[in-house]
Assembly symmetry: C2
Homo-oligomer: 308 residues x 2
């Protein structure tokens, strides 16, 4: 297939963008945990240094760049890190014994295994106000006035709260109970909240920081929401189709746990179709608003085709 | 002793102020958890409805009223609730099995006992962004501009983060380890962070919201810091001197756990003196700045003399 998406080197793009995100995180980290007791600080920095896709900050910075073409200042990546910090805290808490009780995260011991459950609880909680401060400071560096900065903070707090990500974590936890009956609607709600809310907020924050108008901000948000669902469906599909070596984690874990997933509810073939439909939905949202963003198109295709 | 403090009916003051705080919390609660999954919402509201001293919001509103005499609008109490919400989340997390593992809080089952550890973890975490939003909205109702609101959010995030309250929770957790050696300096640091930071921020936020100048805001902050230490010393003293019935919790729990406390480090008599010294320090801070605040003076005396 010809066209701009095919011509776009998405792996090089992702490498470069992740590099800038990781540099920004490394840059921010000392100040983030400054003044904290050393061991708590260590646990916070360990969590932030867990290798990851950095998908949310990459999307945040991409939204900014789509609306403000040209070289993006470093502060855009610091802004984007605020979202990654919230995502990181959610992983730390999700891994805790009272949640998923995971021993490994991306091949490294989880925070509670490396330190202690108490340290993981507190390091996670401490990352939340830290993210708010990072967001505010980066937005200030980008020249946003106090009102615009307040809007961004409200976006992050909404997406990262009870009606967003934390609500989704809760629904996900309940869905793992032996007596849980999760139907298609329930499964979509879990992912809309747990993954979609913060992913959409990443794009929204990037768009707002770039001074995006309502129509384009809304379109980028919708792209994020649909991408979040596609991402989750692909995750579920990979969980049943890939070997441990390819995936970097134990495959089939969800099935073993009797948990509702897209393949378990719809079958593998239909789940794959649904991932394609959601990806199309994400691209449609951009096209309808006249947004020409080869990187976002290529990224959506890349996430759909990924093997881990 | 004659004088304004003696003439001030502190119990009536506290009852009235707690009444306004509780009314504001009840008022805010539906919106706080709006859109959250019902059971998560229930856990959040259960935590917020735990009967408590409401000391932090009472101090926040008092600081506002000291600098802006006259009837305080309801929004002042909603502003004050933001601090109480942060305090509430810290109690929910502190009670968790991986922290203090407490079954009761003020005579009611703790959140993780009433719901589940996962629910308590998530309800607690969800309260953090909720507090930020409550603070911002109440400050807006009070007519504060976006810059001033941003300052208040920064105060709350600093006090409730790794170099404030969460840092103190971490130090406190470490101090409970069998191999912990906590000296006087270490004990004071725990309490300065765990209790003092948010208590001082309560006054600071109230003072800033009232448009207080730097000198008086700083004096009220210092009052809060000293009061926090006095409060904690009195807590430690009560823990060894009162019976369970008077205290509403198991006395001597800290001693049984071999934990460093003011009485265990300094003896009971010296600990009592230290509480008086800290209380004097709190009042001195007010006097030095020329702040005439009978309610804050009476409150400090009342907290020193309390029996539970």
């Amino acid at each position: 297939m010809a066209g701009p998406a095919a011509a776009f080197d998405v792996e090089a793009f992702l490498d470069a963008e992740r590099g800038r995100v990781n540099a920004a995180l490394a840059d921010l980290s000392p100040a983030l945990a400054h003044g904290a007791p050393p061991a708590l600080r260590e646990a916070m920095l360990y969590a932030l240094a867990t290798p990851g896709k950095r998908l949310r900050p990459v999307l945040c910075a991409a939204a900014y760049r789509v609306l403000r073409p040209g070289p993006a200042p470093d502060a855009v990546y610091r802004l984007a890190c605020a979202v990654e910090i919230v995502h990181t805290y959610s992983l730390v808490h999700d891994d805790l014994p009272c949640m998923d009780d995971d021993a490994l995260r991306r091949g490294r011991p989880t925070v509670h295994r490396e330190f202690s459950p108490g340290a993981a609880l507190l390091a996670g909680a401490a990352l939340i106000p830290a993210a708010v401060r990072v967001l505010d400071e980066a937005a200030r560096e980008l020249g946003l006035d106090a009102a615009a900065r307040g809007e961004l903070i409200a976006e992050l707090c909404r997406a990262g709260g009870a009606r967003g990500m934390v609500g989704g974590q809760w629904l996900d936890l309940r869905a793992e109970q032996p007596d849980a009956r999760v139907d298609a609607e329930g499964l979509e709600r879990i992912h809309r909240l747990k993954t979609g809310a913060l992913l959409a907020a990443s794009l929204r924050i990037g768009a707002r920081a770039a001074g995006g108008d309502d129509a384009r901000t809304e379109a980028l948000t919708a792209y994020g929401r649909e991408l979040g669902l596609a991402f989750q469906i692909v995750d579920d599909v990979l969980d049943v189709t890939r070997t441990a070596a390819e995936l970097g984690k134990t495959p089939g874990k969800d099935l073993d746990a009797g948990k509702a997933t897209y393949p378990s509810l719809f079958g593998l073939a239909r789940a794959r179709e649904m991932a394609v439909e959601r990806t199309d939905g994400a691209l449609d949202a951009l096209h309808a608003a006249g947004i020409d963003a080869p990187e976002l198109e290529a990224l959506a295709a890349y996430l759909l085709e990924r093997r881990r």
